[in-house]
Subunit: 469 residues, 2 copies
């Protein structure tokens, strides 16, 4: 018997993937006791895009959400997602900000911190991992899964080995784009279990529909924990449904031990919530599924379509889809997730529309080539690098090594409005958004978007807000 | 290397499961050449509910549809679904009608005939199998999968062995309710392959989402062929999407060899058709998924809800769901598919609403207990049988043994309107519906329902028309 444990992602990744991260604290509270009693390994309830959306759109203090959840969930560990040196934001923060954020996360209730870097650049994970360790959290370090000539089994094993040596309590294979096939999962999980001998956690998104099969083969390979969501927030861009996985493994040596009747009670709550909030189910479109063919995630294709439409050049989409693999190869095969999906996508669009490759190069592509996100998985093509930054030397150090400390500055600037160390760190991460929230709180009139605005923002919000993670 | 072959069900089971069987011949013709070139083992295009719906709602001659498809599909075998002695209808037909129908099906273009009996009563399959054999078709005999104390591995092996001895060219495991778990599929397929040494075909419905995993484990166990649909008509009550299965098995020893780019061209066609006809995608509701808990299929639950609503007694649904397993056990554990799902469901509703079990017993329950559908999987509870039919002796022979021949009568009655042997057999199966169609054809004004009517009929049509098969 090797039962598989389950992390429920309904309160973080699932609504980030399907409901534009718009579940409110008040939506969560009534179901927390049931979730706590269900027997999950952990509940992923915080981090990712939830922090930003709380402050920016929901008029909520994310720290207060965490404390409220912790006050009800007594048995089950609470888990969060941390974008390594980018924390819950979109660019790298100085080490003092990283350490303070991680320490306060644990102090306010987080038990397990999942940390990933979109380039699998381990250097970006050292400080957050160390901070999490010192704060007494379970440190879960991730390897981001993608497909490319340099993303070999060896690459994943080496990355995971480095992370284990840095003190990871568990390794997460992070399949953000639903690319991991069942038999590749079997191979990777078997290898990591055998070579590292620590807990292996698998995080897949449903997208084209392989994830249930991928979880089964991972279970056979000895995976310790898998991520699922309650059925009304499962499928499509989200995780696979917990009920399906529980049933598929029932009465096998990997039986999860979870109770279907209890899971359906939970599902009924979320289905009522889904209907009352007017959110759609997770579905699989052809465009989502084409990721199987060319590895370009559905979310990235929608962004490209919007960009091309704005230029009145939608008919060039096929040229852009052919250009993307070239640009990706030239830029050292970054995984196609935010921010690198935008970096590669925007450059591909410009290459096609101008008719001259790399004639126009936007700022974020230059920053990427300068090494400001970290080290690309493979060296950048030398000719292309020259075209983009000339003879300039890219960073050889960790991007955060060249950042000034940020905490004292944040304390100074937020002194009049901040009421706690948590406020200061909210300000350090999102100065303008936090300031507006503090001012409204001060004035006693906190604005939050209505349902109509949610719909509008969902459709027009910047691509980085729909970050898949 | 043991490649898995694929049967495409888009033109039969998929639209029967999701679009109330309303795909028209003109919707199919433009994509047939692509489907023929894709490399499928077979295309399931005929039988099941399509025959009835052609005549009844679409103003189409089903024989003409078959001939048109055959005139374009030159390479890929055409497959149909036959409800054993019930053919493409809802009650047993005399042997002469069965033999003539099967012979004409092959003559008009069918290559593979899948035959099933909802009670796994092999006696009901003997004549259709013999007729198919004589007509030169590939005879695929099915075992219907369900869960009960008598539906043991031994039951399936014995049934399949009898079917093989009757000359089946292949055995189909028919999982109409999406109940077959991956590991049970592994066990069953391995056993049938080992013991029978003939082709094994697996037919699953997606419903709660296990089917992709079930297909993978079946592939590992040596299954020869699996059933899938193009993604716009996949998921939900239909089959799993072909694209997912193809990708999941790519570069493994079970690689299907199908080309994703070609499959996406086909999917684009069906997606445009879906949108233009206003049909919904396949989705998984909680009610569909609860089949994992109590084995009551989602379609059956909707029927029960309607019945209870009509009686103003919707609040009794939970009592009915608790009554169903009792009634099913007492009636000898029939699989819960049409017609037995209605038989068990209606009796359970009456038992709950009258407050006295089996006080009221409708005609179809009496017919079932009299053996007019065949032999139940287990003996009917003696006390209950007595309550229902008193001291009357149930049939011990095959139901069709007591039917008068039907062909001469059909010829006589349809003489003025029928233009071909095919017309006569349409009349023998659906006298009133065929007569109306012939008369309209004679008058040159064939009526077919419009989109609005489709929606209305979908919502109000009798339960037998949504027969899951
Ligand atoms: Co995720
Ligand atoms: Co079917």
């Amino acid at each position: 018997m090797k039962p598989v444990k389950i992390t429920d992602t309904t309160l973080r990744d699932a609504h980030q993937s399907l409901w534009a991260t718009r579940m409110r604290t008040e939506d969560m509270l009534p179901i927390l006791t049931e979730l706590d009693e269900a027997g999950f390994f952990s509940l992923e309830v915080w981090g990712g895009a939830t922090f930003d959306v709380c402050l920016r759109f929901l008029g909520e203090d994310p720290w207060e959400r965490l404390r409220q959840i912790k006050s009800i969930v007594k048995k089950t560990p609470l888990q969060m997602l941390l974008r390594a040196q980018s924390l819950v934001g979109y660019s790298h923060y100085p080490d003092d900000v990283v350490r303070e954020f991680v320490s306060l996360s644990v102090k306010n209730g987080i038990d397990i911190i999942r940390i990933f870097d979109s380039l699998n650049d381990v250097r970006n994970m050292v400080v957050p991992m160390d901070a999490a360790k010192k704060a007494g959290a379970h440190v879960q370090a991730s390897v981001v899964y993608t497909i490319s000539p340099v993303h070999t089994t060896k690459h994943y094993l080496e990355t995971a080995t480095s992370l284990a040596e840095l003190g990871a309590d568990s390794i997460c294979i992070k399949d953000m784009a639903g690319l991991l096939t069942p038999y590749k999962a079997y191979e990777l999980v078997s290898l990591l279990k055998k070579e590292l001998g620590i807990m292996v956690h698998l995080h897949s998104h449903y997208i084209g529909g392989m994830a249930v099969g991928t979880y089964l083969k991972a279970a056979e390979a000895g995976v310790d924990v898998i991520d699922t969501a309650s059925v009304p927030l499962a499928f499509g861009a989200s995780q696979p449904p917990v009920e399906t996985v529980v049933r598929a493994l029932q009465d096998t040596e990997h039986d999860t031990g979870l109770n279907l009747r209890q899971l359906f009670r939970i599902a009924k709550y979320f289905e009522a919530l889904r209907k009352s909030r007017g959110f759609e189910r997770g579905i699989t479109r052809i465009s989502d599924m084409r990721v199987f063919e060319h590895q370009v995630p559905g979310g990235m294709i929608s962004n490209l379509v919007s960009q091309l439409e704005e230029q009145g050049a939608l008919e060039r989409i096929h040229d852009v889809l052919e250009e993307i693999p070239k640009v990706r190869a030239e830029l050292g095969y970054p995984p196609l997730v935010t921010p690198t999906s935008q970096i590669v996508g925007t450059q591909a669009v410009l290459n096609v529309l101008t008719g001259v490759r790399y004639k126009l190069v936007p700022g974020e592509v230059k920053a990427y080539v300068r090494g400001q996100y970290g080290r690309p998985p493979a060296p950048i093509d030398h000719e292309i690098q020259k075209k983009i930054i000339g003879d300039e030397e890219p960073l050889t150090v960790r991007p955060a090594d060249i950042l000034e400390p940020g905490l004292a500055k944040a304390q100074r600037e937020s002194a009049e409005l901040a009421r706690s160390p948590e406020d200061v760190i909210s300000y350090a991460i999102f100065p303008q958004v936090a300031k507006k929230f503090f001012e409204e709180r001060q004035a006693g009139v906190i604005s939050r978007e209505g349902p109509k605005e949610t719909k509008e923002t969902k459709e027009t919000q910047p691509a980085w807000l729909s970050k898949e993670d």
